[in-house]
Symmetry: C2
Subunit: 196 residues, 2 copies
Amino acid sequence: MQSKPTGSQRIHTFTGGDIGAWRVDKIKTVIGSPISNVSFIEMVQSDIATMPETLTGKSGWQLRGVTSNERYVTHDEKAALVSKQSGLGRESAICGALIPIRKNQVWWALAQDERRQIIEEQSRHIRIGMKYLPAISRRLIHCRDLDPGAPFDFLTWFEFAPADATAFNELVDALRATPEWMYVEHEVDIRLVRAT
Amino acid sequence: MQSKPTGSQRIHTFTGGDIGAWRVDKIKTVIGSPISNVSFIEMVQSDIATMPETLTGKSGWQLRGVTSNERYVTHDEKAALVSKQSGLGRESAICGALIPIRKNQVWWALAQDERRQIIEEQSRHIRIGMKYLPAISRRLIHCRDLDPGAPFDFLTWFEFAPADATAFNELVDALRATPEWMYVEHEVDIRLVRAT
């Protein structure tokens, strides 16, 4: 849904550690193994190689992924999303969420039409998300083909104003109740507040 | 279409250089800039880090990508392909082809249904390929999300017997005549003969 930067700009690196632009409010393991507790998260739109080592600290972690072409949305859905969505970095959007997700092997072995069927015709993922635009800004970052064997397939990133925090909870609750989420085998929900 | 190895097994590295299991017969630049001439190509199903440096030689090159989930085929198409296709490494398949391809920005900005429409409903890519199974074994390797900014989006790999070389030429000619190929901005066709 975002603009299409080329090359290394498409890579996003998240560090969890002792410093960063986002303070961790709470970390909830939705399913699967937990992630190490950290106090701050930084998101940098570049590769790990250019990331300052000081960011992660001793118990910290790094997650990275890449923005890519749309995998499921149709032309009409894309047009509707683009007309309604807001970009990242809004001044009012001081709440954030980083929700890394991994889907299971059954999901990835499905054909394209089967995955589309589950995502939209059964789960209404795109329609549900649309209801929360432009209040909830988001970016989808893919890990699976950048680092095969990485702990997550996707890093989903959200920004919203404090007044929309209840709406954001509704959104993630609605998605977690869908047939699509039966294929999610690892999910961690990290809530953040802008620190700088 | 291949089996689903996990982790680093999904990464494929190709080296062009002075040694390798495949001898280069000819290299043809179909569109875009040429690739350096090399005498041999090696395909290794692992990451660059574990690739012997001796393989590429001084004027050589490396290309790498990752096998991934299907992006376009439906359940029925996948079942038909799986029932008909042959694996790599057949003793009779001493002819090979490595055809790296990059599609343009217009292609990648299209929605999923638009790309599917061009690939199959307009270009019959899947149906054309099906006609040449099981004679032509193939593997599709994705580069775009592994190395953003890489020179190619895909590395397509084929193996076939000398008796099927004419059929293979028909296949690539048929695909290059499709509407899908109007989006291809870089393509190099490297023909190979098994050397070992």
